[in-house]
């Protein structure tokens, strides 16, 4: 299948299911109905470089490998630098991060996460010691998918997963099944993108 069509299909599928999974990850404790409320409600966004570093550490990649636009411009330090909360004082005169996320910020985040998660999957599939996706590459069943989901939460969010989170992530496969021609890859990368772009991964 052509990569662009695959990406389009995956994106469409994620658009369908991501909001459901996002509900689970927005509270970090099993769904909105369980969300605890902070009296301070002070939330900072990770800058692109910090989020990218966490993503690279979690996926076992180098920061410069995460994503590159046109194969030439690093997504975080160059192409989407300002969009992802960076500064560029010497040429653009942007001395501080934008006070509010731009409309393209979610797109940039999705691009970086999709690229990085895809790269991790392809590396794991290529052989050697798999970092994250080994279980589904060995035998793609519910148990393996849950193992991968658990690893993703542990590595990308640095905490134990909850049952609700694992069920929600694995449910992604049900939505993808009718439209995917490579369910193992689409499901695994999709779970990874959902965790990597969750509220908990992007803010602190």
């Amino acid at each position: 299948m052509r990569p662009d069509l695959l990406l389009r299909g995956l994106t469409r599928a994620l658009l369908t299911v991501a909001p459901l999974a996002a509900l689970v990850f927005s509270s970090g404790c099993g769904g909105d109905e369980y969300a605890t409320v902070s009296a301070k409600a002070r939330v900072n966004a990770k800058s692109g470089s910090v989020w990218g570093r966490d993503l690279a550490n979690g996926l076992g990649l180098q920061e410069w490998e995460l994503c590159s636009e046109l194969g030439a411009y690093d997504c975080i330090s160059e192409a989407h630098r300002i969009t992802l909360g960076g500064v560029e004082p010497t040429v653009l005169g942007i001395d501080e991060p934008l006070p509010n996320a731009s409309v393209s910020a979610p797109i940039a985040v999705d691009r970086v996460a999709t690229s990085a998660c895809g790269l991790r999957f392809d590396r794991d599939k290529a052989g050697g010691a798999a970092v994250i996706f080994g279980p589904v590459l060995k035998k793609d069943n519910d148990r393996a998918r849950e193992d991968v989901a658990d690893t993703l939460v542990r590595r990308l969010l640095a905490r134990e997963s909850t049952k609700a989170e694992l069920e929600s992530l694995v449910a992604l496969y049900d939505t993808l099944a009718p439209i995917s021609t490579d369910l193992t890859r689409d499901g695994a990368v999709g779970m990874c993108v959902i965790v990597a772009t969750s509220t908990e991964a992007l803010f602190y």
Binding site: T36, V37, A39, R42, N44, V50, T90, D95, R159, Y204
Partner: protein
């Protein structure tokens, strides 16, 4: 205690007595052109128990969006202030009746969020922001989710320290190790010490480096040295390196205004190394060449205020370099004169030595402060126009401007006034500035906003004020010691 209100208070906790003694011109700029921003202090004399008054003065934003524009609450106060009286009000009328106006709008709900203005003021929220309401008086945290929402949470603070200062999340193993630490406070401060040495925090283009962006105002097109621009005039790398150096390794942060050496930054094996250096202008010229050398002799140096880039980009070709002084006032002392902040009229000013017409009433409101603030900068050469080498100190510099700005410009004194205190020259100016409460406040505020994403909330004023006080006391002007205190505060460590 509430003082000198013309109306008796129905609430015994405020009482009466004393005298406000206010010079309330300027809080509402419509009253007079001779501004004097004492309104915030008067507000706190009326509401001494308000959290926003913990430091003695409420922020201008209690009543203004950007002064003199009023916010919702300020507009209600203004409407209640002698409504039948013709505008602009005299300062005397304004002074005498402000208290009545504040009382008159207490029961209103200016921002229509369901909480009266009085309850918002006393509860520590903004009466002009519908999104801001007093915090619940009691905190309930029944969820077993690993976070303590009702107060300082060491686990949360640890994660935040790692992200803020190290630039990465702790791993699950590190979090578990922290959770099992016998002394979490010690573990937290050890983590901070480690992260204060990270490239993310103190490296080239790191967080401290970027904290200087607004102070330096870099522009690559006119940069000299590395990454030279098409019109190389000065190298702001000197400024960035010096700034980071003053903020790190426990150094006295006042050096940013008073130091007389320079600092270079080089990256060695992925680590930025800062090295202090001291050369005469001639020596630096020989070593680094015309486009980069620092031209001020040592005894006339005042930290970043006399760096080549600062003089080039602010003084440029002007005789009385008001832009330079205004930028110093804004960047290092936190007062933006364009926003009517930090005005302290000096009698007899502005003298208008350079014949710019600043004595006009509309201009004098600011220039009575700005011009005497500027005189000590007037002997430092900009790009051109004076009598000496560019960016150097020339005692008779203003003689070079008489053909453009008139004969009187040569009589501009070098002595000036900062915060009402006479200073002989820029060296004294910098010393007064560096030892001021304003400098400590601006320094702490920079880091507060960097780490918490916003200025202190009303309920956090007490913690903020303590940091400001202690920076000049227990912290010995060390930013790093101040940060150790900051991460222990509820403002930082409560999720």
């Amino acid at each position: 205690m509430r003082a000198n209100l013309l109306l008796p208070s129905p609430r015994s906790r405020w009482g009466l007595g004393g005298a406000i003694g206010l010079s309330l011109v300027g809080w509402f700029a419509a009253t007079t052109g001779n501004t004097q921003p004492t309104g915030p202090a008067s507000f706190c004399e009326v509401y001494p128990d308000a959290p926003a008054c913990a430091s003695g003065e409420v922020a201008c934003t209690a009543c203004h969006t950007t002064p003199p524009s009023l916010n919702l609450y300020g507009a209600d106060v203004a409407a209640a202030l002698l409504p039948d009286q013709e505008r602009p009000l005299s300062s005397e009328l304004y002074t005498a009746h402000l208290g009545e106006a504040l009382l008159a709008v207490e029961s209103l709900d200016s921002d229509e969020d369901g909480v009266t203005n009085l309850d918002e003021i006393l509860g520590g929220s903004s009466p002009s922001d519908a999104q801001s309401t007093p915090a619940p008086s009691s905190c309930v945290d029944e969820e077993d989710d690993g976070w303590s929402l009702c107060g300082y949470d060491p686990q949360y603070a640890y994660k935040k320290v790692m992200l803020d200062f190290c630039g990465r999340s702790p791993t699950i193993g590190e979090r578990q190790a922290f959770a099992e630490a016998k002394n979490p406070t010690s573990a937290l401060h050890n983590a901070l010490d480690e992260c204060l040495d990270s490239e993310h925090w103190r490296g080239k283009h790191g967080r401290v480096w970027n904290l200087a962006n607004r102070k330096i105002g870099p522009l690559q097109a006119i940069k000299s040295g590395k990454d030279v621009g098409p019109i190389p005039l000065a190298d702001y790398d000197d400024d960035y390196a010096y700034f980071v150096w003053t903020q790190t390794d426990g150094r006295d942060v006042r050096l940013v205004l008073t130091g007389q050496t320079f600092v270079s930054a080089r990256v060695d094996g992925g680590v930025t190394v800062y090295e202090e250096w001291d050369r005469t202008p001639d020596e630096d010229f020989e070593l680094r060449g015309y486009d980069r050398y620092q031209a001020v002799v040592k005894e006339r140096r005042a930290g970043m205020l006399t760096h080549r880039w600062f003089l080039m980009s602010n003084t440029m070709f002007t005789s009385v370099p008001r832009t330079t002084a205004a930028q110093a006032y804004r960047a290092y002392l936190g007062y933006d004169i364009a926003l009517l902040e930090g005005l302290n009229d000096v009698p007899g000013e502005p003298a208008d030595y350079d014949s710019k017409g600043v004595g006009e009433a509309a201009c004098a409101a600011c220039h009575a402060t700005l011009d005497p603030l500027t005189y000590p900068f007037s002997r430092y050469e900009g790009i051109g126009g004076g009598v000496g080498d560019s960016y150097s100190y020339s005692a008779n510099r203003l003689n070079g401007f008489t053909d453009v700005d008139g004969e009187l410009v040569a009589e501009t004194p070098e002595a000036g006034v900062l915060f009402g205190e006479p200073v002989e020259d820029l060296i004294e100016w910098a010393a007064v500035a560096a030892n001021s409460e304003a400098f400590r406040r601006a320094t702490v505020l920079d880091y507060w906003k960097l780490l918490l994403g916003e200025a202190p909330r009303a309920t956090e004023q007490a913690e903020f004020s303590r940091l400001v006080r202690d920076l000049g006391g227990d912290h010995g002007y060390s930013v790093e010691l101040m940060l150790h205190d900051l991460i222990d505060m509820e403002a930082y460590g409560a999720p």
